[in-house]
């Protein structure tokens, strides 16, 4: 028999098997039975066929079920009890399901399904956290922080002591797409990076993608951090909060119309400034007393949602946060404040059981302002970026093997870069600088989750992006691919590829993330950044002495192009031509990550290890090259990164948590020697020229720290309550916050009159921030 007819026959047989049986669509939303909150990433599974799906980020699911047949469907979600329903479908069915914990709320219920889902999904390089985990782990000054906790996962080393800057798989701090209820957050930090802007009480879900980016995300090279706010309890009025040493927080939520609409308001504020204000007032009459600067931050999250019809749901949410730093004296006033504001209006519409739509309009505004007043002179420096974004996403269940996602977005960016006004009070001297840009960014995507067979699942996607700014137009074609092959029931092998474009860039010349870092758009000279990342790995569920452990091992390689850095000696302050200071180059990063996780039992936690290498080079710009184009490691090239996280339920009342982190020291650039030019016309013989090696050629001492916490639960009649004791840096390790060089003078030359002194040597000094730092917090929920 000829070969071609055999193939045709096989194809027809295959098609008959696939399409021959009539099917109906089972769809709906999965919700928390207690609060009515939709559940993201919950599993809907048909054990008899091995097929299933998960709820999307809006809690919606859609599944093809054999018609006129009795089918058992299992609904499950981490921390909740499974529910099994038997359906006999004669038509499409919309069925909202509510899952309950079924046990005391303070106990963690984890079913194997969460592992099952991870083994079945094409998603890889993804880290997720629940607020429950975050609250059990130690926190700096008692302030729980979901963004800091996610840094305990492998492949996400932090920027070092006391910062929430993220450096994902060799990416820079500006290469993370951070969205809060779909609105872009440009600076996710409070207090120079010590705390994130996300109030754990208001957060429902946080997911971090390190690679294998789904096509719906774009605009940053290295990670996507998708934070969803709670919707508010639509069944009963409730509240939660905490009172700590430096801050307090309160969240109130409840139904507006029971089961149909709800609200949530969550706020927090630090109050160190109230204490320092009292100290300053007490010292008012003491001439020798030093004034202490005032500092506080606050943020407020609000959200309301309305179930308008069975098919329409409207959500309105907003975030507003500010940091304020001030120093006021008789002759010198200094004020510095910064913060984000975001707003989201979201409409969910279910067109049909198979087609779901989410349309969003978001607004985000990040700004900082520095005000400085000395006798007779003042200056005002501010920067600002505003976004207005329209976005629509469709989620379509084509058949029992294909789920399509497609959508588009358009963002209007308005940049104000370094607006400076300075002048004398009498108006004789005045100076101003700054630039404004308006730009548009567009994106459109389509992707398909394709169950090729019960063992093989593929996800292919394509994103088209574009950016226009003052007549300059860029576009990018971004293919995405992910695959999962389930080798056995407890072993799956995954691979992914993603290309990403980034059209806005962060201007920063400091070693830490500062609020004064400025966002800068792509222009004629500043090309969009580009990255290609491949990743491969496996997930393995195994038993060790009766304990279920989940092993994940991934390897990645990332190529980076059009990376933006600064020429040596870049001058960024009030510079009206910043582009002259830029250099553009390439980079690469590669490494491996391994983690073992235990989610069941009294003792839970994980151990993660990352080995990676990051290099940047071939930098060239209008003013020349960096190191003649040679490659160097950025400051955050951390070779080894280990985290050990443990949570232990000791008894009904007592629980404890501990984290230990270890990382290779950050890199820095210190002068090794010095020289002067003497007898050279035009050159000052007093100026000592430093001799540097290659950029960042000095590695600081290794970073390691142990944090512990103990939680004691109280059971008052009105709700729940606990007292949490956190001890950060339990063995008093002095890790480097930053390093500086200090000139050394001859003994006895400390001249208070400020006459010229020539240093006879230099010393490098390391500033460490955190000693042992205990904190006590009282948390409550009613």
């Amino acid at each position: 028999m000829p070969l071609k007819p055999i193939l045709v026959a096989k194809f027809l047989l295959f098609a008959a098997v696939i399409f021959g049986q009539e099917q109906f669509t089972l769809s709906g939303k999965l919700k928390d039975a207690e609060t009515g909150e939709t559940l993201i990433g919950a599993s809907v599974f048909i054990p008899s066929s091995g097929s299933g799906t998960t709820t999307n980020e809006y809690g919606f699911y859609s599944l093809q079920v054999p018609a006129f047949d009795s089918v058992e469907v299992v609904y499950s979600y981490v921390g909740f009890q499974n529910q099994t329903y038997t359906f006999f479908l004669k038509a499409n069915l919309e069925k909202d399901i509510e899952l309950g914990t079924g046990v005391q709320l303070d106990e963690v219920v984890v079913k194997a399904n969460s592992y099952e889902e991870q083994l079945r999904s094409t998603e890889m390089s993804v880290e997720a956290l629940t607020t429950k985990e975050v609250k059990m782990l130690p926190a700096i000054l008692g302030e729980t922080d979901i963004l800091r906790t996610i840094q305990l996962k492998p492949g996400i080393p932090s920027g070092g002591e006391g910062t929430t800057g993220l450096f994902v798989r060799g990416g820079g701090p500006d290469q993370n797409l951070i969205v809060l209820d779909e609105a872009l957050v440009y600076n996710p930090n409070h207090l120079f990076g010590f705390f994130s802007t996300f109030n754990t009480d208001a957060v429902k879900d946080l997911k971090l993608y390190k690679g294998g980016f789904p096509a719906q995300y774009g605009g940053r090279l290295s990670s996507v951090i998708d934070v969803k706010l709670k919707e508010g309890n639509n069944k009963k009025f409730s509240g939660s909060g905490g009172i700590g040493l430096i801050s307090s927080r309160l969240t109130l939520e409840g139904p507006i119309q029971k089961g149909k609409s709800s609200f949530i308001v969550s706020g927090r504020r630090t109050y160190v400034d109230l204490i320092t204000g009292l100290v300053n007032k007490a010292n008012e009459d003491k001439p020798d007393a030093n004034l202490i600067p005032g500092y506080y931050f606050y943020d407020l999250n609000t959200k309301v949602n309305f179930q308008i019809t069975e098919k329409d749901h409207l959500f309105l949410s907003g975030y507003f946060g500010r940091d304020k730093f001030s120093f006021d004296s008789d002759f010198f006033d200094f004020g510095f404040d910064w913060g984000n504001a975001t707003g989201t209006a979201r409409w969910n519409h279910t067109f049909s059981p198979r087609l779901f739509n989410n349309t969003t309009v978001t607004f985000s505004d990040y700004r900082y302002q520095i005000l400085n007043q000395v006798t007779g002179f003042s200056f005002d420096l501010n920067s600002n970026i505003k976004d207005l974004n329209f976005k629509t996403d469709f989620y379509q269940n084509l058949n029992d093997r294909n789920t399509l996602r497609y959508g588009a977005n358009a963002t209007y960016h308005q940049f104000t870069v370094g607006r400076l006004k300075a002048g004398s009070d009498d108006g004789n001297i005045s100076f101003s600088a700054g630039q404004n840009y308006d730009a548009m960014e567009y994106g459109a995507y389509i992707s398909d989750d394709f169950d090729v067979s019960p063992r093989l699942t593929l996800n292919g996607g394509l994103r088209l992006s574009a950016f226009s700014n003052d007549g300059t137009f860029y576009y990018g074609v971004e293919p995405r691919f992910a695959s999962n092959f389930k080798w056995t029931s407890n072993l799956s092998v995954k691979a992914s590829y993603a290309r990403m474009y980034q059209y806005v860039h962060l201007v920063s010349n400091s070693g830490i993330s500062l609020p004064t870092d400025v966002w800068y758009p792509s222009t004629e000279n500043v090309k969009p950044q580009l990255s290609d990342q491949v990743a491969a790995g496996f997930s393995y569920l195994f038993n060790l002495g009766g304990t279920k452990l989940f092993l994940t091992n991934e390897y990645f390689y990332k190529w980076l192009d059009n990376q933006v850095d600064f020429i040596d000696g870049a001058e960024l302050f009030a510079n009206d031509d910043l582009e002259q200071e830029f250099v553009f180059g390439k980079g690469y990063a590669y490494g491996g990550e391994i983690s073992i996780e235990k989610k069941e039992g009294k003792l839970t936690g994980w151990i993660g290890y990352t080995l990676s290498l990051i290099r940047r080079g071939e930098f060239e710009g209008p003013k020349g090259t960096v190191m003649n184009g040679r490659y160097f490691s950025p400051r955050y090239d951390r070779r080894h990164d280990i985290s050990v996280v443990a949570m232990y339920e000791i008894s009904r009342r007592w629980s404890a948590g501990a984290t230990w982190v270890f990382g290779s020291g950050d890199l820095t650039w210190l002068p090794r020697g010095r020289y002067t030019f003497q007898d050279v016309p035009g050159v000052d013989p007093q100026v000592a020229v430093p001799v540097y090696g290659d950029r960042n050629d000095v590695r600081l001492s290794d970073f390691h720290r142990l944090d512990v916490s103990v939680i004691y639960k109280l059971f008052p009649k009105w709700g729940e309550s606990d007292i949490t004791l956190s001890v950060v840096n339990a063995y008093d390790r002095r890790n480097a916050f930053f390093v500086y060089i200090e000139p050394q003078y001859k003994e006895g030359e400390e001249d208070p009159n400020g006459t010229l002194r020539i240093p006879e040597g230099f010393k490098a000094k390391q500033v460490s921030l955190f000693p042992i730092l205990p904190a006590l917090t009282w948390n409550f929920k009613f």
């Binding site: 609020p515 040596d568 960024l572 003497q678």
Partner: protein, 294 residues
């Protein structure tokens, strides 16, 4: 600086938590430091050394062997000025030819460098106008503002840019000339330029020169002692400089401007084209024209 403000803000805010530890700076191997310049009729070289810590006192090296060679030039040894690190050799080198400088000293690794000697510019014309005078803030002086307009021609061969230097020489009561350097020299009309040597020297990139077709106006102010007569000469010096010398000057004056020893400053890596050492070997060729001031 804004960053310095933030830096001190953090320090003040966390002053109770901060602990300072001393770190070991990586060892530095001292090396020869060379500042070598090929001029129109002489080659001058300064040789010093680098130090692991801060240099102190005079550190020029007098006992070096300094030589220069090129396609038309056999190895020629520089003469040394006793007890200094200064060496020179009178030579009229060929334009657009590459020369090799070698410096050795018994205590250091020998160093070398190669550079092309640049061709000369030409000042085609030069006019000087006085824009007005003011009483200076310094007693006994007045501030005179000048505008100089000039047209320049440049060689076709490669060079890094030009330096523009202006100064005046005025007669005192005894008829002697006093040379007076300007305060700030600037270019109006949005011409892109850099200032070197305490704002007294203008540097222009080759590309900028092409854009303005060699025609430019220079505005400068001079603090003049009141006892001097407003009679004398104004001098305009225009020099082409080689790429290496341009790179060195740009990096040096950037280094001079920024605050190097704070944490937040982006360090300035000083340009060097000296193999096994530090410093530069460059070329500068100058045309000078003067006008009478009355």
């Amino acid at each position: 600086m804004k960053s310095t403000g933030v830096f001190f803000g953090i320090l003040i805010l966390f002053s109770s938590c901060v602990k300072v530890l001393e770190l070991d700076i990586p060892e530095h191997e001292p090396a020869l430091v060379v500042a070598g310049l090929m001029k129109d009729s002489i080659v001058e070289v300064y040789v010093g050394q680098s130090f692991p810590e801060a240099p102190s006192g005079y550190n020029g090296l007098p006992d070096c062997e300094v030589t220069i060679s090129g396609p038309d030039l056999p190895i020629t040894t520089f003469r040394s000025i006793p007890k200094t690190g200064y060496y020179n050799v009178p030579l009229a080198l060929l334009k657009d030819k590459s020369y090799r400088l070698e410096v050795s000293h018994p205590n250091f690794l020998p160093v070398s460098s190669e550079e092309v000697h640049v061709d000369k510019p030409e000042i085609l014309e030069f006019e000087l106008d006085t824009l007005g005078g003011l009483d200076s803030i310094f007693p006994g002086y007045y501030l005179q503002l000048f505008e100089l307009s000039t047209a320049l021609a440049f060689p076709d061969s490669d060079f890094g840019g030009i330096l523009i230097d202006v100064y005046i020489a005025l007669k005192d009561d005894l008829g002697r000339f006093q040379i007076i350097q300007p305060g700030t020299v600037s270019l109006p009309n949005n011409v892109r330029y850099e200032n070197f040597r305490d704002q007294r020297v203008i540097f222009l990139e080759k590309e900028t020169l092409k854009q303005i077709n060699g025609k430019l106006n220079v505005v400068f102010s001079v603090e003049i002692p009141k006892e001097l007569q407003m009679e004398g000469r104004a001098y305009l010096q225009v020099s082409t400089i080689s790429n290496s010398y341009k790179n060195f000057l740009q990096s040096y004056y950037t280094h001079d401007r920024i605050d190097l020893e704070t944490f937040f400053a982006e360090p300035q890596y000083l340009f060097s084209n000296i193999t096994n050492g530090h410093g530069y070997f460059g070329s500068q060729s100058t045309d000078t024209l003067s006008k009478t001031i009355r």
